[in-house]
Symmetry: C2
DNA sequence: GTGCGTACGG
DNA sequence: CCGTACGCAC
């Protein structure tokens, strides 16, 4: 049994203790972090080292974005794709060794895309769509059991947001983004583990805006995902979202997801 | 018995809980704060109100400087001098009413003066000297029992710094500043209560640089003072500096002083 | 709302 | 080193 977690931590330095608490409590074999918001030289390596997460691939940059994959199983780092070719740190890929030999874990932070869902008016939205197209091109050539996980910044299903009709024109839930995400998924035939294990239309949010935190309206969206190649998906045994982190002090706006695989 | 305290708090909002802890523990009748670093509209009034400090004179500004005098004895606010005439909030004066009728408490935050002790090269140093000259002119006309207290940003005696020879050219301990401070003191005949009660050359520091905090060299300076008119000084019964606040979490770089008067 | 960079003052 | 303000991104 191998368990893999993902969490957009929104600053790994500020929340190093929360990450430690999560790792101690959930004991995943691998944790994929997004928005670490630091260069590797300031990554809190010791916190992970002390908890047995001695294998780490940190792809960081100053202030924004940044991803890291930490593991207590040995792995080999494969690549760091820059699908926008703009130098942003949004991906790191590793291949597990040992017990889970051969499993590839792609950790990605897809661009948020700005506020206006129109590439003429908003270059960031165009970049998000282009990023997804390039990911689709890349996925088409994948030929190994792959888990791609992270913050996709898209809530694809109607039931992935608290109000489908209200959000259909809001970046993260527009038809054009969802179509681009679908092309990417179909390019490899990924299976959406979130909805394999928690079937639609069940509530399954992973993100809540800080701006409406104080309200208790539960205005969530499912922006974080774990997608697996068909053969690997068949080996997934459980999947859960760890919502209690939201109730910790100064929480991230995202919660972690954890999947267990029979391998 | 009336007890008066002074503390450069270095942000009263960030350290409102530390101020509350200090007030609960030491129970001074009056506390003079400097570097509150906030406009009055964001001053944590309720914290003081809840502890019985229902009389407050807050002279704040956005981001920098700012002084406040809080009291559980009634007082009347007298004035807010702007000796630099540059709009900075560096002084507030009050007159105690009731039990301690007639005692005037002048709360002041003298400019730090920049890094270079030369008014040709460093305008801030000139402003500090000018500020002191204007205070001397003002002090010459005082005719009531007055306590002037706060962060004077000058360590006048050789024993008021950890290394007299090393600091003689460092702003806060240069002969020209000390001479200006002496003129101010002599203009009214103030008595330095810190050295009345803790005679030179006894260790008596009130400030340590954040830059050398991690060292434990005790590189302190006596920058905070309580000076009294001769008649009032004769009524002072005890004086102490409350160094334990330095060991609290995220401490101010200054510690509080407390004086008790027999009146 | 909450994070980080930068700039400024100490 | 440690505060605040501001701008930017999400």
């Amino acid at each position: 049994m191998v368990s893999i977690a993902t969490w957009n931590i929104n600053s790994v330095r500020l929340r190093a203790d929360q990450v430690a608490r999560f790792l101690t409590q959930e004991e995943p074999d691998v944790l994929c972090l997004q928005e670490i918001k630091t260069e590797e030289k300031h990554f809190p390596h010791q916190v992970f080292e002390d908890l047995g997460y001695t294998h780490r691939a940190v792809h960081g940059q100053k202030g924004y974005h940044g991803v890291a994959t930490v593991s207590r199983l040995p792995f080999r780092e494969l690549d760091r794709h820059d699908w926008q070719a703009n130098g942003e740190a949004r991906h790191v890929g590793v291949e597990l060794l040992g017990a889970a030999q051969g499993m590839v874990i792609e950790n990605v932070y897809i661009p948020a895309g700005g506020d206006i869902p129109d590439r003429e008016q908003n270059a960031k939205f165009g970049q998000k769509l282009d990023f997804l197209e390039r990911m689709a091109f890349w996925a088409d050539r994948l030929d190994r059991p792959t888990l791609i996980t992270g913050d996709f910044n898209i809530a694809p299903l109607d039931c992935d947001v608290y109000d489908h009709k209200a959000l259909i024109k809001v970046v993260s839930h527009t038809p054009i983004e969802i179509a681009a995400l679908d092309r990417f998924r179909n390019a490899h035939g990924f299976e959406d583990l979130g909805r394999k294990h928690i079937p639609a239309p069940e509530r399954n949010y992973s993100w809540w805006s800080y701006r409406t935190y104080w309200q208790d309206k539960d205005r969530g969206r499912r922006l974080d995902h774990m997608w697996a190649s068909p053969d690997l998906a068949a080996q997934s045994r459980s999947h859960r979202f760890v919502e209690e982190t939201r109730r910790w002090d100064q929480p991230s706006d995202h919660i972690p997801l954890v999947t267990e695989f029979d391998l």
